[in-house]
Amino acid sequence: MSMLETRNTTKAFGSLIAVNDVTLSVAPGELRAIIGPNGAGKTTFFNLITGFFPPTSGQIILDGQDITNRTATQRVKLGMGRTFQITEIFPELTVHENVRIAVEAASGYSLHMWTSRHDATRVRAGIDEILALTNLTTKADRLVGELSHGDQRAAEIAMALALKPRVLLLDEPTAGMGEQETYQVAGLIRRLHKNSNYTIVLIEHDMRVVFNLADRITVLTEGTMLADGTPAEIAANPAVQAAYLGTAE
C-alpha cells in the first residue's frame, strides 16, 4: 500500500508538455527525493499533487483515495502539507502566532469568533509540541520576518506540520541557503523522517542533502521520469549520469 501515488499523470500547457506520463508510488514513512535539471517539471509535478492546477490526464491518489478532482484546500484537509521554493510565511507575525494560526486552521477554528478554555488549552499544547519538534521554542516571540533563512524555513515546515499531514511536500527546502543553514534544515528533515516517521517528498538541488536523506530518488528530465531507485542505484545509473549528474557537476 502506498501513501502517495501518481498514475500516468500528465500536464500540458498548450503544446508544452511539462509533466509527461509520470507514474510513481511513495510508501508510508518513506523519504522520496525528486531531482532533475532546471525546467524538468519538478515544481509543476508538485503543483499537480497539491492541487494548484488539475492534471491534463492521469490520476493522483492519497492513501488509497483518488484526489485528482479535489481542490487544493480539500487536499490540505485530507492531509497534504506543503512548503514552497520561496518561503511562504506570515512575516510580520511572531513564530508563535504563525504556528497558532496554522494549528487553529487545522482544528477547523478559522471561522470561530471566540474560543472556549478547553479549545484554547488544546491549541496551546499543539503549538508547544510543534515548536519543540522544529527547535523553535526559544524563538517563539520573534517576528518570523526577522529570523535567518534556516529558521524561516523551519517555521514554514512547522506550519505545515500543524496540519498533521499524511504527506509532507517540501519544494527545495534548502534553496538559497549557506552551509550552516542547509545543515540545520537537513537535520530537521531527518528528524521528522527518522524520529516522527513522516512520509516526505522533497525536491532538492543539493546532492549531498539528497543522497544523505532520501530512501529513494526519482529523476525527472524534460517532464519524463528518467529513473527511479535507491540512492545507490541512481548513482550507478548510466542514463542519469549522462543526462543529469554528468552535466551538472
Binding site: V76, F90, P91, E92, A106, S110, W114, L163
Partner: protein, 332 residues
C-alpha cells in the same frame, strides 16, 4: 510590496524588544474621548465637532478592519456609510419617531447591502476588488441622487430630526443637549469598537491577519480565503453603516455626497494617515482630518490642498502612519 516594506520597518526596531502594549494607547484615547466635553471649549472646539470626529473615527476603523487587518482595499465604503445615514433618516422621516429603530434600520440597510454585494466582490483581488467596490458604491449614490420624491435627490434628505432616546423608564434628551448626544455617539462607538477588538482577538481575526500577510500560505493551511474576505467585508460594512446612522442623527440630514467615492477616498486617507497596522490609528487620522478640515476651511476654500500636503508628507516620512510613528518613538 507593502508587506516587504513593513518587514523592513519592523526590523529597524531593536531586536527582541517587545512592542509597547496596545492598552496604553487605548487608555490614553479613552481618557481623551471621555473628558472631551470638559476641555473642548478651552481649545476652541465644540461638542458637535467632537461627535463628528467620533463618527468618522468609527467609519475609518470599520474600513481598517478590512484594509489593515484583512489586507483588502475597498474604495467604496462611503456607500455603506451613506446607506446607514439614509436608512436612519428615511425611517425618522416616514416611519417612526424612535431613534433606536431608525439606527437599527440604518445599520441593517448598509450592512445587508454590503453583505450581499460582498458575495460578488470577494472573489476579486487587488485593483479589481477596489474597482468593483467603487462601481457598486456609485450605484447607491445615483439612486439617492435621482430619486427626488423619496430621498430628496441632490438637495439631500431633510425634514427629520433625532428624537429623545427611550432607555427603559428614562428618556435621554439627545435632541436638545449636544453633550448628551456626544456621549450617545461615544457609547455606540465603544460597543462597535469593542466588538471589532473582540473579533480581531479570536481565531477568526487571526485568520484575517494571516490572509493579509500571505494569501497563498493561508490557502495551503486549508483556510477558505474568499469566505473570510466576504465575512470581513460584511462586518466592515455593518460598522460603516453604524457610523452613517450616527452621522444622519448628528446633522439631522443625509445627502448623496455622503455616498460619493470622494468620501470613500477621504476615509482611506484617514486610515492611512493615522496608521493602518494599528487598531487606533484610523481614529487619530480621523481626528486630524476632521479638525483640520474644520479649522482650515473657515480660513480658505483650498483647505483640501493642505490636507493633501500633509497626507503626502505622512506617507513619505512615516509610512506606518502618525500613531505608528508615535509608538515607534516610544520604543526607541
Amino acid at each position: 510590496m507593502s508587506a516587504a516594506t513593513a518587514t523592513r520597518l519592523e526590523s529597524e526596531r531593536p531586536k527582541g524588544r517587545p512592542r509597547p502594549p496596545q492598552w496604553t494607547t487605548g487608555a490614553v484615547i479613552w481618557v481623551v474621548l471621555l473628558s472631551a466635553p470638559l476641555w473642548l471649549g478651552f481649545v476652541g472646539g465644540y461638542t458637535a465637532l467632537a461627535s463628528h470626529v467620533v463618527v468618522m473615527a468609527l467609519v475609518a476603523m470599520a474600513l481598517n478592519f478590512l484594509l489593515g487587518f484583512t489586507g483588502v482595499m475597498s474604495f467604496g465604503h462611503a456607500a455603506y456609510f451613506g446607506l446607514g445615514a439614509y436608512g436612519t433618516g428615511l425611517t425618522l422621516r416616514y416611519l417612526s419617531d424612535s431613534t433606536w429603530f431608525a439606527v437599527l434600520n440604518g445599520v441593517l440597510l448598509g450592512g445587508i447591502a454590503g453583505t450581499l454585494l460582498g458575495i460578488l466582490i470577494c472573489r476579486r483581488r487587488g485593483v479589481y476588488f477596489a474597482m468593483v467596490t467603487i462601481a457598486f458604491g456609485q450605484i447607491f449614490y445615483y439612486i439617492a441622487y435621482r430619486w427626488d420624491s423619496f430621498t430628496g435627490g441632490y438637495d439631500g434628505l431633510r425634514g427629520f430630526s433625532r428624537q429623545p432616546l427611550g432607555v427603559g423608564p428614562w428618556t435621554i434628551d439627545i435632541q436638545g443637549n449636544g453633550t448628551l448626544f456626544y456621549y450617545f455617539v461615544l457609547a455606540v462607538f465603544a460597543v462597535s469598537v469593542g466588538l471589532m477588538a473582540f473579533l480581531l482577538n479570536s481565531p477568526f481575526g487571526r485568520t484575517l491577519i494571516a490572509i493579509r500577510e500571505n494569501q497563498r500560505r493561508a490557502q495551503f493551511l486549508g483556510i477558505a480565503v474568499d469566505k473570510h474576505i466576504w465575512l470581513s467585508f460584511s462586518i466592515s460594512c455593518f460598522f460603516a453603516s453604524t457610523a452613517g446612522a450616527l452621522y444622519a442623527l448628528l446633522n439631522n440630514f443625509a445627502d448623496p455626497t455622503s455616498m460619493y467615492y470622494t468620501l470613500s477616498g477621504e476615509i482611506v486617507i484617514m486610515v492611512v494617515m493615522g496608521g493602518m497596522r494599528n487598531f487606533w490609528g484610523p481614529l487619530v487620522g480621523a481626528a486630524i482630518y476632521v479638525v483640520l478640515q474644520d479649522y482650515i476651511s473657515s480660513m480658505t476654500v483650498n483647505w483640501m490642498s493642505f490636507i493633501g500636503l500633509m497626507f503626502v508628507m505622512v506617507v513619505m516620512f512615516f509610512p506606518s502612519g502618525i500613531l505608528g510613528m508615535l509608538r515607534r518613538r516610544a520604543t526607541t
